[in-house]
């Protein structure tokens, strides 16, 4: 058949008609259909370990409920954000616009969180942040629709300020990568450290992704500081801690930091170099409370002996919040205001302690920030709690939520 103008246009319009008809043909009943939970997490790359932990804990909780709430099936739609803001935002839009998820969760990367914030807020999608710690989400960029079950960057660090001044040393060298999260963490530390009589000997901000910390470690040694407070995560944490040991600082200048310095995603690679490091975090699998003991046992049973970490606890709490809130509204995902109100009132026993949201910021109130030390336990190295600070809530400066 010859490709004439007429045949082409006929064919094109026919195709267009079919395509346009498509979306009308398949329409699900939003009330009795499955409850769709969207996850924007890294499933590839170095941080995939975190994405997996969070997801696995969520699966654990949902499985316990028979994967159903109020008679509706729970469907998890997972999207890999590759730790890249453009990809993360794109996947968020897919989940909200295309998949029409009822509740969105994630991400790990604070940049992705800040990038998705407006879309979530404007589309009135309920987002439960299951990791990213950007303080701004609990401060000037808070939203009626956004809750956070993980932590704000401020929370693990501010209590360490007071504790380190009292129990380690009042002359501390600070270091973190040169980006917003790093500066936020160290500022939070200073907030409590200086009023407690602490003196900052010096501060250093190597570039994010630095592989050779030699010049900075030499500076630490030369500064005469008695202790170091550091925030590093991922590969940076591995390189920093290992090189800290190689330069002979491990036994001489006490290394303390935010919990991410020694979390299970980096501890295996750090090995013996991490022994004795003291960090602040809201969780450690070593916690001795009944909910945690059950959580650790169930998690190990379901996932081949794998011990849960702080990220898994975040996932557990996120799923618990979803389950409890939806039960409270009888599975009604249409009335979003009611669902938000239900989430705000939630209180339950989490592996980290008694879980509550701060109505002022929609951020979790950490029942405790545990001061942990890396020690040798049965099965290898782990963060063992040696002290704790109770009831840590983010100051929430600049957050105005409708009550």
């Amino acid at each position: 058949m010859r490709l004439t103008r007429r045949t082409f246009l006929t064919g094109a319009s026919a195709t267009a008609a079919v395509v346009a008809a498509g979306p009308w043909v398949v329409e699900s009943d939003a009330q009795s259909g499955p409850i769709k939970i969207g996850l924007v997490l890294p499933y590839t790359g170095v941080y995939a370990v975190l994405g997996e932990s969070i997801t696995q804990a969520m699966e654990l909780v949902f499985a316990r409920e028979g994967n159903k709430i109020a008679g509706r099936e729970i469907v998890m739609i997972k999207e890999d954000d590759e730790m890249k803001p453009p990809v993360g935002v794109r996947k968020t839009e897919k989940l909200i616009d295309s998949d029409k998820v009822d509740i969105l969760t994630g991400p790990v990367h604070s940049g992705i969180l800040m990038g998705m914030r407006d879309k979530v807020h404007n589309s009135k999608t309920i987002l439960i942040v299951s990791n990213a710690g950007a303080d701004a989400i609990s401060r000037e960029r808070c939203s009626h629709w956004i809750f956070r079950t993980s932590f704000s960057n401020w929370q693990p660090c501010q209590p360490m300020g007071g504790w380190v001044a009292k129990n380690v040393s009042k002359e501390v060298f600070l270091t973190a990568p040169n980006y917003q999260a790093g500066k936020d963490m160290l500022n939070a530390f200073k907030e409590a450290f200086i009023p407690a009589g602490g003196k900052i000997v010096a501060e250093d901000y190597p570039k994010l992704g630095e592989t050779d910390y030699a010049p900075y470690l030499t500076k630490i040694r030369q500064s005469g500081a008695k202790a170091v407070f550091a925030f590093y995560s991922g590969t940076d944490a591995v390189n920093f801690v290992k090189q800290y040991d190689q330069f002979g600082l491990k036994g001489q200048v006490k290394l303390t930091g935010a919990g991410f310095l020694t979390e299970p995603d980096v501890l295996p690679a750090q090995g013996q170099s991490a022994l004795g490091i003291i960090t602040g975090h809201f969780y450690t699998p070593q916690l001795d409370n009944p909910t945690n003991k059950k959580f650790v046992a169930d998690f190990k049973a379901k996932f081949g002996g794998k011990t849960p970490d702080g990220f898994a606890c975040q996932g557990y709490d996120t799923a618990e919040v979803i389950v409890r809130a939806l039960k409270a509204v009888n599975g009604n995902t249409q009335d979003k205001d009611k669902l938000v109100a239900a989430i705000e009132k939630i209180e339950f026993d989490s592996p980290r302690g008694r879980f509550r949201f701060d109505p002022k910021t929609h951020n979790v109130i950490q029942p405790y920030i545990y001061i942990r030390e890396v020690k040798e336990v049965a099965g290898g190295l782990d963060n063992v709690p040696i002290d704790k600070v109770a009831d840590v809530r983010d100051p929430g400066t600049g957050c105005t939520l409708p009550s």
Binding site: D80, P85, V89, S98, M114, D118, Q180
Partner: protein, 307 residues
């Protein structure tokens, strides 16, 4: 009217009415393809026609994006801020960088342009008022003639700008200037011997390509609602190169096809397999080896090892 022209017109029409035919996510993908297509086309002008391979083209993409983001968030959401200012800024950047870089060629040109774009990356990553590593968020859609653009209007705006950019580049490529560029690509020495001020032609081509890249960056910032330092990475330039090569260098239209192939691979294939990067690398290798004309070349029947 030839079949080709009709086909192009139908394609443009389909693209323009796409929001009526498909959901938000496919439309978003199409819009990204348009924006990256413009970026890749500008690189094709530089690489396919003038023969200058640059790994620093992302510098202008980023400049356009950041200027648009800053202007739209701080000074109001006008069309001037959204397109004209970024284009001007990118043109100036291209003039400066081009002037410094064109004195060297080949590998050194690649290295120098790469260095410049990485410097932009380093600066925007550190500087607080540029948003540091999070970049600038909350970039609004522009207002044209005082009217705020709704979703369909914005789509038409994107299509229109893409069309204008394509037509402009097409005109340039077909003009005497474009022919001189091709002559320079083929044999620079000869053109120099004939008496053409080769460096000046190259600089003009560089600035034009940079300006269009800046427009693409501005569109990107408006589409995504944000811009991050990643826009300046040498790998961003690399991705545009991939698109131009997969589509077919020296064809302009190929760049749009290449952009489509890349974005579809990245978005759709990644939902099915984690190994999409491997596939992308392999695809690229195969194209460079066996399909030097890219998709367009293959469509025209040029497949196989070229001597």
């Amino acid at each position: 009217m030839s079949v080709r022209v009709v086909a192009v017109l139908v394609a443009v029409l389909l693209v323009a009415v796409f929001p009526m035919l498909a959901g938000n996510y496919p439309v978003k993908l199409l819009q990204e393809i348009l924006v990256w297509g413009v970026f890749a086309m500008s690189l094709d002008l530089l690489m396919g026609f003038a023969g200058m391979v640059s790994f620093g083209h992302s510098a202008f993409f980023g400049v356009g994006g950041y200027v648009a983001a800053l202007a739209l968030t701080r000074w109001g959401a006008g069309g001037v801020n959204g397109l004209v200012l970024p284009a001007l800024a990118a043109a100036v950047a291209a003039l400066v960088i081009g002037y410094c870089s064109i004195r060297v060629s080949g590998v050194y040109f690649i290295m120098l342009t790469l260095a410049f774009s990485q410097m932009f990356y380093a600066v925007t990553f550190q500087v607080d008022w540029l948003g540091a590593e999070d970049g600038i968020v909350g970039v609004p859609r522009p207002r044209l003639v005082g009217v705020e653009l709704g979703p369909s209007a914005f789509h038409l705006y994107l299509v229109a700008v893409t069309l204008l950019a394509t037509l402009a580049l097409w005109r340039i490529v077909c003009s005497p200037f474009g022919h001189v560029l091709r002559g320079i690509h083929d044999n620079e020495g000869r053109m120099q011997a004939i008496g053409y001020p080769v460096d000046r032609y190259k600089l003009v081509a560089f600035v034009i390509a940079g300006t269009v890249a800046g427009v693409a960056g501005a569109l990107y910032a408006q589409l995504a609602g944000s811009i991050t330092p990643d826009a300046f990475l040498w790998t961003t330039s690399g991705e545009a190169l991939l698109m131009a090569i997969i589509g077919g260098t020296g064809t302009l239209g190929g760049a749009l096809l290449g952009a489509a192939a890349f974005i579809l691979l990245q978005s759709l294939v990644s939902s099915y397999t984690e190994r999409w990067m491997l596939l992308l690398g392999l695809t690229f290798i195969v194209f460079v080896l066996m399909l030097p004309g890219g998709i367009v070349g293959a469509l025209r029947g040029r497949i196989g090892f070229r001597a």
